[in-house]
């Protein structure tokens, strides 16, 4: 799964926003935040599928803590974008 397709979807971007706000969330907490803060009323199954796409792209990782499977944001794949198209270059019109 490539990172560009993973972040092309607005629901998946909202998921990343919420995981940046607080890392280590369950599916239940994420769904509550998406509904209450973003007005996204997708089913839990749909959100779980989005999480699968993000995990395949390396943008989140998961671990079981106690009873629950929790999700963390992981920004490493985005580095490839900044490296490919640097924000600052030496080739300005000077």
């Amino acid at each position: 799964m490539d990172v560009y397709r993973a972040i092309a979807d607005p629901t998946r971007r909202a998921i990343l926003d919420e995981l940046v706000d607080r890392s280590g969330q369950s599916l239940f907490e994420l769904c509550a935040r998406l509904t209450m803060k973003h007005g996204i009323n997708s089913s839990r199954q749909a959100i779980a599928q989005h999480l699968g796409v993000l995990e395949a792209a390396g943008l989140i990782r998961t671990r079981r803590v106690g009873r629950s499977k929790l999700h963390w944001y992981q920004g490493d794949p985005l580095k490839a974008i900044a490296e490919r198209w640097p924000i600052a270059t030496d080739e300005r019109d000077t």
């Binding site: 369950s26 239940f28 907490e29 509550a32 803590v65 106690g66 009873r67 629950s68 929790l70």
Partner: protein
């Protein structure tokens, strides 16, 4: 019709009774021995004649797979209302309670989710005053 009874399945009724009374702060209402198990209910000290909460044994084979599956996705078995969520959170953390979700502002409500040590996740929530 009224709701007089709600509850959760617990892996150990005596351990659950201690957690729900000594830690959460509910009061014992009934403790009726029924052979291997007991009919144990607790009530809120703020509403001792109100809805009873049953601590039900989880010995039916369908219970653990069900409760474990919803717990894996972080879904609470039930929810309790509190007046001051931040204060309850701090009190319970000091008492050693593990939270899987710290107080989270969701707009009309603030919620948190704790582990009851008996197999369940429990949500507590504070309803904000209506503007």
């Amino acid at each position: 019709m009224r709701i007089h009874l709600a509850g959760v399945f617990v892996d150990d009724q005596q351990k659950a009774l201690r957690f729900y009374t000594e830690t959460l702060g509910f009061q014992l209402k009934h403790n009726i021995p029924l052979g291997e198990y007991a009919w144990i209910t607790v009530v809120s000290p703020e509403d001792p004649e109100g809805t009873e909460f049953l601590l039900e044994p989880d010995n039916h084979p369908a219970v653990r797979p069900f409760v474990d599956a919803i717990g894996a996705d972080g879904i609470p078995s039930t929810s309790f209302a509190v007046d001051d969520l931040q204060a309850e959170y701090e009190r319970l953390v000091a008492a050693g309670v593990k939270f899987v979700q710290p107080p989270t502002d969701l707009g009309p409500v603030i919620t948190a989710v704790l582990d009851d040590t008996c197999g369940n996740l429990i949500q507590i929530q504070e309803q904000k005053p209506q503007p």
